[in-house]
């Protein structure tokens, strides 16, 4: 066998394995955008007017929000910051939070936006006296359960500074009431029994264990470095997304089937090769989408479908050129060679222009446009590989050096004999 035949067999085995392992056995899941799986997207404006190091403040804002979201138990949340400037086109610093599967927007907003203030005040008759001890001095908060009543209690541990302050307050004010206020509302008001030196305290109160957990989380992660304000929100129900996804897949399969029929009927044997190359292209793209991972949105799937068209175009260009050469009575082998080398320039230049478009869209676009740009750009790059190297290897593998009328017929196309 010739070299091309061996490479073809190896390529077929590799692509079959990729398809079987990643797509049929579904080893690595796809990442679908919110519009396909349902969920919530929140866009916040960050007020950075009071800070000097805007980049650093946004980075720590992102970290705080990430921690809060992670405790919420959302699988694969995406938290991004978008900076202001000419390049991004934003007038302000932004924080974008995507929560797949979360449709209770109220809870999501409360979870992200809330900045609790914890204060300790002494009660002197009707008046509240601030002690200067606040949540800022907190080292850690934990939910514990009272061993007899099973009621949830929040145990607090202050840092060194806070512990000293706490010891001083409890020493100087024994017998007085120390109220614990959350966001200005009294949570509990225990009487100081004795001096507490280890910097530990407990809050008992009328809360459920869920409320206690939320509270502990908020206390632990403290205040946001910069104030944020919700400017845009998006919630998509899961059913809408699921039906969109199924419909998209069905459309893709039907489209591909008709496309394959067209290619085989018009381009005959090379058409069949183009269909095989196209299937390789689809397998490779989907595997790369899974591994990178590329988040697939409705717009992203549209970009992918467009790139399928461009992948086919490369083959069409090559076959049309090969046909012109065949008409000049050249051998099949020479015609294919000419077809590939001549078509290369138009494939290269037209795909470069598509890649330029994709890069600019990715750079300037919003999340929906980015999804489109990414699948289009990645798709065009992969298609240049499969349309040229895969089709080329297969075609030369089956183009036998012995020419017969049948072979010439099979390598011709369209309405020609």
């Amino acid at each position: 066998m010739r070299k091309e035949s061996w490479i073809s067999i190896i390529l077929l085995i590799i692509f079959s394995f990729l398809g079987w392992y990643f797509l049929l056995k579904n080893k690595v899941p796809f990442h679908f955008g919110l519009d396909l799986v349902g969920g919530t997207e929140l866009i916040y404006r960050a007020d950075t007017s009071a800070v000097e190091d805007v980049g650093g403040a946004m980075e720590s804002l992102k970290e705080v929000i990430e921690k809060r979201v992670n405790i919420f138990g959302v699988s694969e949340p995406i938290i991004q910051t978008e900076s202001a400037g000419i390049i991004s086109g934003n007038k302000e610093e932004r924080l974008i939070v995507e929560l797949p599967g979360v449709t209770d927007i109220d809870r999501a907003i409360a979870l992200i936006g809330k900045t609790p203030t914890l204060e300790f005040h002494l009660i002197n008759g009707e008046n509240l006296l601030s002690t200067g001890l606040t949540g800022r001095y907190l080292k850690q908060a934990r939910v514990e359960f009272n061993s007899t009543t099973r009621a949830p209690v929040i145990s607090l541990e202050f840092n060194k500074e806070g512990g000293e302050l706490f010891a001083q307050i409890t020493r100087d004010h024994q017998g007085e009431i120390l109220a614990i206020l959350l966001d200005g509302e009294p949570l509990s008001a225990p009487v100081i029994q004795e001096e507490i030196r280890d910097g530990k305290a407990q809050i008992t109160g009328d809360f459920t264990s869920d409320e206690a957990k939320d509270l502990v989380r908020n206390l632990n992660y403290g205040a946001l470095p910069v104030p944020i304000e919700l400017v845009s929100s998006q919630t998509i129900g899961a059913t809408l997304g699921e039906s969109a996804l199924n419909a998209g897949m069905r459309a893709g399969i039907i489209g591909l089937t008709i496309l394959s029929l067209f290619l085989i009927l018009w381009y005959r044997l090379p058409g069949l090769v183009a269909v095989v190359a196209l299937i390789c292209y689809i397998i490779l793209s989907l595997v790369i989408f899974k591994l990178v991972p590329v988040t697939l949105t409705a717009a992203g799937i549209a970009g992918f479908i467009l790139s399928i068209g461009m992948a086919v175009d490369a083959n069409v260009l090559i076959f049309e050129r090969a046909k012109e050469e065949l008409k000049k009575d050249k051998s099949i082998h020479d015609s294919l060679h000419e077809g590939f080398s001549r078509a290369w320039y138009s494939i290269r230049d037209s795909n470069i222009s598509s890649i330029i478009t994709a890069i600019i869209l990715f750079w300037l676009g919003t999340s929906a446009v980015k999804g489109f740009a990414l699948t289009l750009g990645v798709g065009v790059l992969i298609s240049m590989f499969t349309a040229i190297s895969v089709s080329r290897t297969f075609l030369f593998a089956i183009a036998s050096p012995r020419e017969s009328k049948l072979m010439r017929f099979l390598f011709s196309n369209g309405l020609h004999k």
Partner: protein, 300 residues
Amino acid sequence: MFIIKYRKVWFALSAILIAASIWSIFAYGFKLSIDFKGGTLTELSFEQRLYQTEIESKLSKLDLGSYSIRPSGEKNYVIRTRELNQAEKKLLTESVGGVTERQNTVGPTVGAELQSKALKAIVVVVMMIVLFITFAFRKVSASLSRGIRGVSSWKYGLATIIALAHDVIIPAGIFVYLGHEIDLLFVTGLLAILGYSVHDTIVVFDRVRENLRINQEQNRDEDFEVTVGKSVNQTFTRSINTSVTIFITLLALYIFGSAATQTFSLLLIIGLIAGTYSSIFVASPLLVTFYKLQRKRAQV
């Protein structure tokens, strides 16, 4: 070579379509979606098909300002209102009932910003493409000085821009006429059309470039009109077949895809037809027109 010969007919046809599209844009106006002007969009689904008036009467009792209702799919309604806060959103979904399929809120500043971003994206894409074409066809300019007939490479870029404008204005005009909203997905679609149309045009221009090179190598003095006509003929089947393959996938997406991608695929189909037409019947004949203008000026 009837394509080049009758170029004035094709130009006239395109001019009529462009004029009609511009008229439609001015007469009907762009209906900007909440993506660009801010507001809240709520899609509710109901167990049974409700009458629109039922929802309207419920909505009118709430103090939400002006609103619009549009049925979507079999049992859904899409309600558009001004930008609502959390409490108002809750009030809306609770008083109208049904299951909330999606609810989007865009603030007015974000919307205005997206609008400028979208325009910027289109302008930058067009500029970069023209620069790229001028670069890719630079050898054509060089061959001019050696007595080969033709036009300089920036004119290939100019012809591409005119074809691009054609491909964006016509689908936009048709969409405005059909009463579709202009949203982010629409802009994405227009950009995809730009990408495809350039792709298509470059393939034809590449053939012109190749034929010019062959003429130069063989010292053949061929009229530029003949060269362009030959190139269009040679790439004609490929242009049509590529468009057919993309058309098949888009049509499948239009017929079998979800409601969300249906409008999008319709836009792409219109753009595909406009783009294929423009690269064969507008961009390439324009090269000949530019050439004739240039020669006329030289003779004066």
